[in-house]
Point group: C2
Chain length 343, copies 2
């Protein structure tokens, strides 16, 4: 198995939760890892887990860290020894197959773009976020924030990235794609979206089910829903905010509901926590940055061990897949096809 580089200094709970989470992935799935960051902080944590001499665990010392408040591009260029930059180099030079990057999304995207590099033919990478649906399954939404102002070509490439990710990494047999729009009819939405609609309808690589309204995301039959990175990011974060709000309202309702509500809540607790689990992003670990040569998993800044453990596994799946090669071939094919049809 290919090694996975872990930015042990990224996120709100670094390094402890990051290291413990990554080590859990080593124990559970025998994934070889390279913990990148301040060795003085990392080694004791590895020792505490009794894995100091574990053959699958390496530590790579680095002296710098890119903070949430720094400008990603500038910080990345300046801090050559930042843990996230070192991780990107390990992937670029083939020492690792993928990396796990908690913390600043901007820094992670920059590391992917400048540190690892794009797949030949791909103009922009895209972030693919898996969100739970109402049937206990999930749907992949992309782009959720890498390209905020895409053109139709970018969006068509995102569709390809989403398709091969669903097929090769998420393990969906024959992934169906949908297009996020504000109506279900073909001519709905803004010019960019109607253009993308007709292009998705024309292509012959994946089945296209048509427009998907925001309302239908939790119940859509599509495995992948394509959108621009601005809308996708706003949508995703709104969902986060709503989930939080829902549990707040529930708590308030219980708080003001007297003994009856309190007893009810106590009795209902197991069911509620089961439900909360089903919408817990930590179950998915993180969101891959697709379109770059190696795997990169962006983790929520508030990620704890469980999220990092699952993110490490996702990074490994990505590293072991043929996704990049398949995408490169498909993009080349598309370009050719479009070249012909334009004549």
């Amino acid at each position: 198995m290919k090694k996975i580089a872990i930015d042990a200094m990224g996120g709100d709970y670094a390094p402890q939760e990051i290291v413990i989470g990554a080590l859990a992935a080593v124990k559970q799935w025998q994934i070889p890892i390279v913990l990148v960051g301040d060795e003085e902080q990392i080694r004791p944590l590895v020792q505490a887990e009794g894995m100091a001499d574990h053959p699958l665990v390496e530590i790579r010392h680095s002296t710098e860290v890119i903070g949430m408040d720094e400008h990603p591009g500038m910080a990345f260029r300046k801090k050559k020894d930042a843990s996230v930059s070192v991780c990107a180099r390990l992937v670029k030079h083939g020492e690792c197959g993928a990396m796990v990057a908690p913390g600043s999304t901007g820094a992670a995207v920059t590391a992917g773009l400048l540190g690892i590099g794009r797949i030949k033919g791909i103009e922009r990478p895209a972030i693919a976020t898996t969100i739970p649906n109402a049937t206990g399954g999930s749907v992949i939404l992309l782009d959720t924030g890498a390209g905020t102002d895409p053109n139709e070509k970018n969006m068509m490439q995102n569709a390809l990235l989403g398709y091969y990710y669903a097929k090769e990494v998420a393990g969906i047999e024959n992934p169906k794609l949908g297009l996020l729009n504000i109506g279900t009819e073909e001519l709905k939405g803004k010019p960019l979206i109607t253009k993308v609609y007709s292009l998705m309808k024309e292509q012959e690589i994946y089945p296209f089910i048509g427009n998907v309204e925001g309302r239908d995301i939790p119940t859509t039959s599509a495995d992948v829903v394509v959108c621009d990175g601005f809308t996708g990011n706003a949508l995703l974060k709104f969902g986060e905010g709503l989930a939080g709000m829902f549990f707040t309202l529930l708590k308030d309702a219980i708080g003001s509901g007297g003994w009856r509500a309190k007893l009810g809540a106590w009795l209902l607790y197991p069911a509620l926590s089961k439900m909360k689990k089903s919408v817990d992003y930590a179950e998915y670990g993180g969101a891959p940055l697709l379109g770059i040569k190696g795997g990169l998993i962006i983790c929520h800044g508030a990620s704890k061990r469980k999220a990092i453990c699952n993110a490490t596994r996702l990074a490994s799946k990505l590293a072991e897949s043929d996704m990049a090669a398949l995408v490169e071939r498909a993009v080349a094919g598309e370009a050719e096809r479009n070249g012909e049809t334009r004549e």
Copy 2:
């Protein structure tokens, strides 16, 4: 008080729920109404409510209806006697101060644009949707679907529309505005949004609190959040979908949770329904189409009597407000100011 035109034939539950809801508004707030649609269907419903000779209730017969499946623009031009078209004419000619339009949003927007007409200086109308927040209050999001591809001028006009709506109709003392973006920093997001940010920062009409992330909408201190109609619509519908999904998951969790969960749910029921009420769109009735000369409230196609009753009240508030005049003055002022600053 100005009369309110009610499209009694619009929406999934027309005419019964529409008529009963509008009549409830007459009873509660003495709002004069004109019920527009098939008199043969409407009159018996009014009689059943014992309001056949009520001085505040009129019926205006119309023979046509615009269906959800029809192309709004074409249908509106073709069907001069459609109930929604007749309502628009009643407002345009000053017989009514505002209209309530359940059913097809497209038909309602077309009726507002072509039937009633824009406020002088406003390029595009905007739909303003009030969404409940985590503190039991609410926030006004606009545009949620009228202009899917706005430029910075359109978005600045939407900000003005949102400000005066919050101040003059929603009754918020000194409304604060925010801009929907994918980060809180000034330079985040796509070019259009950074441009709008700097323009909102410059203007001196309303207080601007800066960027608001999707995640923060339920907790933002902004009274009005400005966004493009594509993102706003996708966001809103995703929220609808999530709320539905949450209650589905809750039901499933209870269903599979055995007697303990069922008893808990029964005990918690009053608290849960109180909570559900706080996120019920029917409480708000509908969303106004802002930027047109008269008031127009767009109602959800599934609106029942409660939503229509509240929508009729909102339409009356809009009709009694000076909003259109204030907006026209503000837009003229802005245009002048920009003319100067450009030199």
